[in-house]
Amino acid sequence: MLEFLGRLLGTSDGSKTKAKERLRLVLVHDRSSLSPGLLESLKEDLIKVISKYMDIDESGLEVNLDKSDDSVALVANIPVKNVKRQGKGK
């Protein structure tokens, strides 16, 4: 009833907003299952970029997708051996 009144007054959205939000989340999750090949090439690129700024332990590099209910995060654990001096390596 409240929803109906809200809609009459133009203050409430239809169920479409809900659908869009749910679909967005579902797709983020579905698409986040990276193939092993994609994950490997992501790792290689990460190493390339980060190596410009610091020495890292490549064998200890871990990259994962951390999924929770309403978000997906790329979590990388990269052991650093040495940080390069600023102004170098660019």
Binding site: G14, K16, A19, K20, L27, D30, R31
Partner: protein, 268 residues
């Protein structure tokens, strides 16, 4: 050499078979030679939608297994005769009775004779799907403006990419303008935002689809029906013509009534 187009969706019940039947009829009406292939082995339905269920003697597996020639297995349509034929699915067998290589070989044969070979893909992403997409040059995705259907369509886009079937197009089916208007249904631009693939057509939800399926006569032949018009537009787009999308919102009750009367009079 004709084109092989697979019609797929991932999710069941979104209108793959109805779409296949209507595009087949529509393209044949435009003067093209069309072969429809039911790849849903074990759950065939394209024959029923086309009204050809009583004419089936041989089916796809008979051809693949060499029990009969291709031409013998093709069923001619009641209306279009040799220009629209159906290769039915086997009903008493299972999807793994045929493999992608065999399907590829079959498509090679069919495309020599027909301008369009439309393959009706089963729901799901297993063997039946892999068979149906094998040998296709192009894919048409069918989806409805619902979370589950769009999600499955998105998954199929990824799987098609993995099978090297690039640039799929989508048909958004069963749109209800009244529900879109009051914000209770995803609209075309919403679906577009999620899928990000070219839209081949939009089809309004329409009771005449059910009526035509009851009769076994595809709705594309019904000049009065809005969904029929939508399918005719899609066929012309497949033929390379520029056809703008139907205005689903602009028509109110009176306009709808007037159009029905007008077209009805023109048909008489």
């Amino acid at each position: 050499m004709g084109k092989v187009i697979v019609i797929t969706s991932g999710k069941g019940g979104v209108g793959k078979t109805t779409t296949t039947a209507n595009l087949g009829h529509g393209l044949a009406a435009l003067g093209r030679k069309v072969c429809l292939v039911d790849a849903d082995i074990g759950l065939r339905n394209l024959d029923v939608v086309l009204g050809l269920e009583n004419r089936i003697v041989y089916h796809l597996l008979d051809v693949v297994e060499g029990n009969c020639t291709v031409s013998k297995a093709l069923i001619r349509d009641k209306q279009h005769g040799e220009n629209l034929v159906l290769l039915a699915a086997a009903q008493t067998r299972e999807k793994d009775a045929v493999n992608p290589d065999q399907m590829r070989d079959l498509m090679k044969v069919l495309r020599k004779e027909y301008d369009y070979v439309l393959v009706d893909c089963p729901a799901g992403i297993e063997q039946g799907f892999r068979n149906a997409v094998a040998g296709a040059d192009q894919a048409i995705l069918v989806t409805t403006p619902e979370v589950s259907a769009v999600r499955d369509a998105d998954r199929i886009v990824g799987l098609l990419e993995a099978t090297e079937l690039h640039d799929p197009q989508v048909i958004i089916n069963r749109i209800r303008p009244d529900m879109v208007r009051r914000g209770d249904m995803l609209d075309i631009s919403d679906v577009d935002d999620f899928l990000r693939i070219p839209i081949l057509g939009i089809v309004p939800d329409d009771e005449s689809i059910i009526v035509s399926t009851n009769r076994g006569e595809p709705v594309v032949n019904d000049q009065r029906s809005r969904s029929g018009q939508a399918y005719r537009n899609i066929c012309r787009r497949l033929e390379g013509q520029e056809v703008s999308f139907m205005d689903l919102q602009g028509e109110n009750f009176m306009q709808r009534l007037l159009r029905r009367i007008r077209v009805g009079a023109a048909n008489r």
